[in-house]
Amino acid sequence: MEQSLIVKKGETIIFSSHGKWLYPLFELEDFLATNNVPVGELSLQDKIAGKAAAFLIVRLGFKNVHILLASEGAAEVFKRFGVHFSADKLVHRIQCKTEEIVQGNEPPDDVWQMLRRRAGRVSGVPVSISGLSYRIGKRQLLSKLDLFVNKGEHIFIKGQNGVGKTTLLKLILGLEKTVEGKIVVGDYRVGTKAWNKMRYITGYVQQESVKNNFPVTAREVVEIGLAAQKKSKLEMEHRTEISMRRTGCWHLADHSYHDLSGGEKQRVNIARCLCQQAKVLLFDEPTSYLDPAAKEELYEMLNELWANEAPTVIIVSHDDSWIDRFNWPVYELKNGSLCLNS
């Protein structure tokens, strides 16, 4: 079968793929990450490249690229990022949906994120809320609220105290009963029997507050993520270790959870969500009790999460300076409904 993508080190082919669309480039991304290959010495040859492929190649760091059939849009992207590029044939545009979607002037990370979603390479699932109303006593907290968060998308929800931010998260978790409206997480409508069996796909990280001092180790907290899943002891241990290593808290495994700092506790809680393989992560005021250094750690960890597993993330926060550090959409909850702020 004819190779569509070839990567050479000198004259030696170190990677090839005959996959279709952008999948060979995603395979290459995995290959480079797994084998820790420096991209500077490599050259890449692709069969067809439009703007989307050009962005992915740029993001991978290639400086020497030959394309058999390239679009003018792809050529512009390569030029913009200083990639040495040659093509057998240059056409105005290639027949592909992504050629229409990608403008050409976006940051490569944004394009990469969008393409990952289209390629189904994100662990997140969509969250869809429609016509959601909720009242406590006579007080209407949420009123015909609509929200759609795409798979792998990350958003902030802010708003003043008592407007119903935490209630909204609790409704998504199914902790509060939805009387009017509909919440769908992935393929499951919240509150149904099918969702009940799969509700571990939504992970929850509360604000750091000491509710009890009952003895529990960091490892035990992470294992809670698997409490409702039938797993062998070996698999549980393996997944706990992997999750704790991923969030950099494996060395704290046997420490008492209550002796950890606010930042370390957040690491442990995110590890718990990774361990349960949550597809949607809900954070409720995650920086409330964190010092600046711990906030910075959390910022880095969330960015890393975004770059790797890419779960769908909804963060409720009123920490404006921290929110501003992310380039994520910010919604404001006001008068029972959400409006996009930025």
Binding site: L175, Y200, F214, P215, E220, E223, I224, L226, Q229
Partner: protein, 267 residues
Amino acid sequence: MLELLTYPPVLRGFVVLMLSGITFPITGVYLLRMNLLPLRFMLMHGALLGGAIALAFQINPFWTTMAVNLILVWFMIRAARGLKADAGFISIFIMVAAIGLAFVFISLFDVQAKDTMGLLWGSIFTIDNKLAVGFAAIALLIVGFHFFRYRQLKAVFFDPVIAHSSGVNEKAIYNVVVLLTALTVAVAMKIIGALLIDAVIILPALIATLHAKSFKGVVAWASIWGGLFAFAGFFVSYWARIPASSAIALIATFVFIGIYFGKKIKK
């Protein structure tokens, strides 16, 4: 001293005491963690109500007490959920209602209050074979539930909201825990009496939380301490000619004080 154990009632009492000592502190851990300490008082008053009913109608006091306490616990769970109120708060209300009702029975059926109060004192030597089998069954139930639902219990005890988001049916686990605890408290009254019940159920768990770092450690140590107190309490009671329940309570208290101050000095 071991020749004591050649007498069947003593041997039976010893075995039941050891079984209870090792397994009942597991529910003590649940009581402590779920902040259900007022539940014991409700069950003690439930025992008085059960006793009054049993004496009024001339029926078995042990099983009547057990049934009354299970009904009270069921009512407490329903009321706490329905009113979205703290279970401890509801249990105080039920406790007062139970004792009020007990006095109604005592008054209406001319029951001797002294006989009812007698139910608050237990003795390991009054246990017959049937009751011993019942104890063994409850001990097995506690251990079985703990091992088969260990991961879910750990999640609920850490945080019911987190447990829910992990997929655990936290309400069901909570209900079973409360019912199991009620059952344990009700039967423990038979061997140690209502007023010293903490010595078998709560104190070993409390001591374990002073030094254990993990949930697993707390449960294991609570069982170890409970077993040691039961063993030591049995022989000390014979040696000092005091009731076994008092011996257990005093030994547990000395150990608690020792560990508490040991920790303070270490700090």
